[in-house]
Amino acid sequence: MIYVILGVMIWAAGWVLNVQLANGLSSEQTSVKIAIPAIFGLTIVIVWELMVRGFEVNPVILPAPSSVLERLFGEGPILWADFQQTVLKGALIGYVVGTVAAFVVAIVADRSDFMTRGILPVGSFMAALPIVGTAPILVKWLGSDWESKAAVVALMVFFPILVNAVAGLKDTNSMQRDLMRTYAAGYWATLFKLRLPSAMPFIFNGLKIGTTLALIGAIVAEFFGSPTVGMGFRISTSFGQLALDMVWAEIVIAALAGSAFYGAMTWLEKKVTFWHPSQR
């Protein structure tokens, strides 16, 4: 019971602190802007820990954050191997393959207005579909190692990137194109010097959507067959052993990997599209 009361008190204290910080004089400072969500997150984790102890929640239903943390540091080699298999092999390779394929199709389609008008609606339609459902089929075709995961990922990221790339390549006005013509720039020069750069804000949109999809695809595909390593494999087998702290440890890794992947794309976007109004 003491844990529960303590939890409520910490929650209240955290909230009061955040109210003070958010309405205080220094609320526009960067450090405070980071501190407030950090305090919020920390409060939730502490309250979670205390509630699990206070109500003696069965660890099969909800493990305490401390035991998850223990797993994170205790099972380093296993988690690292899973990370390599799923993120570095499955997700990343599939992501690169899907992106390259989308670029090639987009540039080919871009040469004719007819193709563009056909591919845009079909592509954006496909992007809204539950493509992850093809995972069982692809695992059957390509075997259970990372190749089939990469294929699922490539298929999932292909359409959002394709649609954004095709739309982005159209995003130049006739004034800009005319200027290129006065420079006697040919198709390829115009493509590399004008159209691709100005398509970049769109393309990065697609790339950022793709980061989350890539991890989802790689993990979900492992549920349908995998070698005895991988995050999806670990999640489903740990679950079978009722080791929920391990499942949560994998969730933390997946969350960190997802945010890092997304963050890396945002960073790259800043570097590449520094000229765009939204980045200035």
């Binding site: 069982p136 991890l215 549920f223």
Partner: protein
């Protein structure tokens, strides 16, 4: 150009629009048909090499002369090579019972049979399985959207919530939470919660954050000038909300609805996939795979795609009608 430009739309996603004010639907029909036909053509061609090894094995058992006649020797050939040596087996590839890649007409036939000729209470009816998937999707979507709008209002009016919750709402969209859907189902199942609720929970979670992020953007979209004007009218905060912020947020709201509903549907299907669910699109995809009935998988896959398309199309229509009635340009 027909579809909306992605960078401009809220949420940063390009959505698909069937039609636009400038009669885009007419202009796009031919190109879209061409692309669809091209995809169908590639599919039709791929059917032959994909199935050729299986077809050749079966044909030999049926007493047809196959070149080469050793099954082991056939493995050395690619699907294309085998087709080259046995051109008369091609028609068989299109009607093979358990194909690796079924032909389009097989999938269409299976879909027709399971949608129209089975009674909708039958376990073999796709309509029945569709409803099993659709019901939790819609319920979860309603819950997620409702809570999302409430949280967005809270964020817009409370500085503390904005500062403490909003960063997490944004970060949460980069987390592959969908991958955990099956586990959530099993956890809840182990404590005795089954049926509609666990799947709805996932659908709700997935539609929640897009709605929060979109609605916050929408509720903040009125300019300072408009807000000041209301203040000169001596409008209260509540009046300002109903008369200005809420109507102004509608275009953003619809955009997030469309993102949310397709996320919800994908979530429910993934939740059904590896959890031993007996009904629903996800279960059908898996059952077909495990029991060697690829047609069942493929029909479920396409039915799920059609459902997603229908839902997004429905919201598109509602959006167009609403925004037109409100005098906003249907973007």
């Amino acid at each position: 150009m027909c579809p909306r430009k992605g960078a401009a739309s809220s949420g940063g996603r390009i959505e698909f629009n069937w039609h636009n004010e400038d009669g885009c639907i007419v202009k796009s029909v031919l190109p879209v048909l061409t692309v669809v036909l091209a995809i169908l053509g590639i599919w039709l061609l791929a059917v032959i090499p994909m199935n050729m090894h299986l077809v050749a094995d079966q044909a030999q058992r049926d007493g047809v002369i196959v070149v080469p006649d050793e099954p082991a020797a056939r493995q050395a050939f690619s699907g294309v090579g085998l087709t080259w040596h046995n051109p008369d087996l091609v028609p068989l590839a299109y009607n093979f019972v358990r194909p690796r890649l079924p032909s389009p007409q097989q999938v269409a036939g299976e879909m027709y049979e399971t949608i129209f000729t089975k009674s909708i209470t039958s376990k073999r009816s796709l309509v029945y399985h569709g409803w099993v998937t659709l019901a939790p999707t819609l319920l979860g979507f309603l819950i997620g959207t409702g809570l999302g709008v409430l949280l967005a209002v809270g964020i817009v009016y409370s500085r503390v919530m904005d500062r403490s919750v909003m960063p997490w709402a944004i970060v949460s969209q980069t987390i592959p939470i969908l991958a955990l859907a099956p586990m959530v189902i099993v956890v809840l199942g182990s404590v005795g919660i089954q049926g509609l609720f666990p799947k709805s929970l996932i659908a709700a979670y997935l539609s929640f954050f897009p709605v929060v992020v979109g609605m916050v953007k929408g509720l903040r979209s009125p300019s300072q000038m408009q807000l000041d004007l209301l203040r000169t009218y001596h409008a209260s905060n509540t009046q300002g909300f109903w008369a200005l912020r809420l109507p102004a947020s509608l275009p953003y709201f619809f955009t997030s609805l469309k993102v949310g509903i397709s996320a919800s549907l994908v979530g429910t299907i993934v939740a059904e996939l590896p959890t031993g669910a007996r009904a629903g699109f996800g279960a059908r995809m898996l059952v077909g795979d495990q029991y060697g009935q690829p047609l069942v998988s493929w029909a479920a896959l396409f039915a799920a795609a059609l459902t997603a398309a229908a839902l997004v199309g429905l919201f598109n229509a509602i959006e167009r009608i609403t925004l037109r009635r409100m005098g906003m340009a249907a973007v």
